[in-house]
Symmetry: C2
């Protein structure tokens, strides 16, 4: 037994993070253990701080530190547009492109018959409720160009048509592509070239 059980346990926990496996988790932990005061302890404190304060925005599903996220509390962003995304990572990708000035709605997934994910699991009822509450005129569907993503887009379009204008990101989103992997320019082009459904 060369790895103390505390460190072994930390490696196991790190290896569960997306993009890390046992080997990269070992390297990361050794890196941190060699920098206990400068990196490991501050990282532990920051994680605890986020664990204590982070929460989902009750309105849009974004991550914030209060009941409502900074976008939902910013009156300048109540411009009648809601951009519907699958994940918070996609919301952040849209924000990095700095091209959209309305609000968001994070579904938290896409409809999937296979995984038994229906509208109730996806905050779709909350989206429908927001249309009147926030005087929404346009819903921009920025969902993945996958079968499930497009099924979800059509389902939402059916629910909302005749109440709002419906558009979708058009140009530049590759088939099977995820927003979080696109560069800012591609996202900008796709938003500017959005088309009615």
């Amino acid at each position: 037994m060369t790895q103390p059980s505390e460190i072994e346990r930390l490696i196991e926990m790190m290896a569960k993070l997306p993009g890390l496996g046992p080997r990269s988790a070992r390297r990361a932990v050794l890196h941190l253990v060699a920098r206990r005061d400068a990196q490991l302890a501050p990282l532990a404190r920051q994680m605890q701080l986020v664990a204590d304060t982070a929460r989902e925005c009750t309105n849009c599903g974004n991550i914030g530190t209060a009941d409502l996220c900074p976008i939902c509390t910013d009156p300048r962003r109540a411009n009648g547009q809601i951009c519907v995304v699958e994940t918070v990572a996609d919301l952040w990708a849209m924000e990095r492109a700095s091209v959209f000035s309305g609000r968001y709605h994070v579904l938290g997934g896409t409809l999937s018959a296979l995984d038994a994910i229906g509208p109730e699991e996806l905050r779709i009822p909350q989206l429908v409720a927001r249309i009147d509450e926030e005087a929404v005129r346009e819903v921009i569907l920025a969902l993945p160009a996958t079968v499930d993503g497009q099924t979800t887009a059509h389902y939402i379009a059916d629910r909302l048509e005749e109440r709002v204008a419906l558009t979708s990101l058009a140009q530049g989103v590759p088939i099977g592509g995820e927003l979080d992997f696109l560069d800012d320019g591609t996202i900008t082009a796709a938003l500017n070239a959005r088309k009615p459904l």
Copy 2:
């Protein structure tokens, strides 16, 4: 501002880990924030525990939770053999192969004129001291097959020759290869086929 500064700060800290960049750090943090109670808080506590308890073995440089690591306090491993490795990751790789039953000495690097790393930076004086203190008969040099690694091996061999038998891992270590990336079978073959310098 969509990412709260606490989360932004956590992403920046995670992005400094080896093998992670800004994108994978974002994904890891979103993964953790969505699992605050099940993963993020326990990970924070485990990191704090390791930050509070982990330390370098004063004898060999391995990571443990006491002044001396479990290998240095195990009398069955005082068999007259010391295996010299560059990093703790290399020590762990040797241990995973379960083929070496002696003790280790972690240099913490290799000699490098370019980076001004000399013997004093590498715990080489401590290695020399251990030869008599622990009645060492054989020093196995398991250093990288790089120019700096081999320079270091020859320097140590010069310092220790006529005092101990000197061997090096031989067969199976690829040129430019690092121990931590080898499979256990290759490490076993290299140790079994070790040859005198």
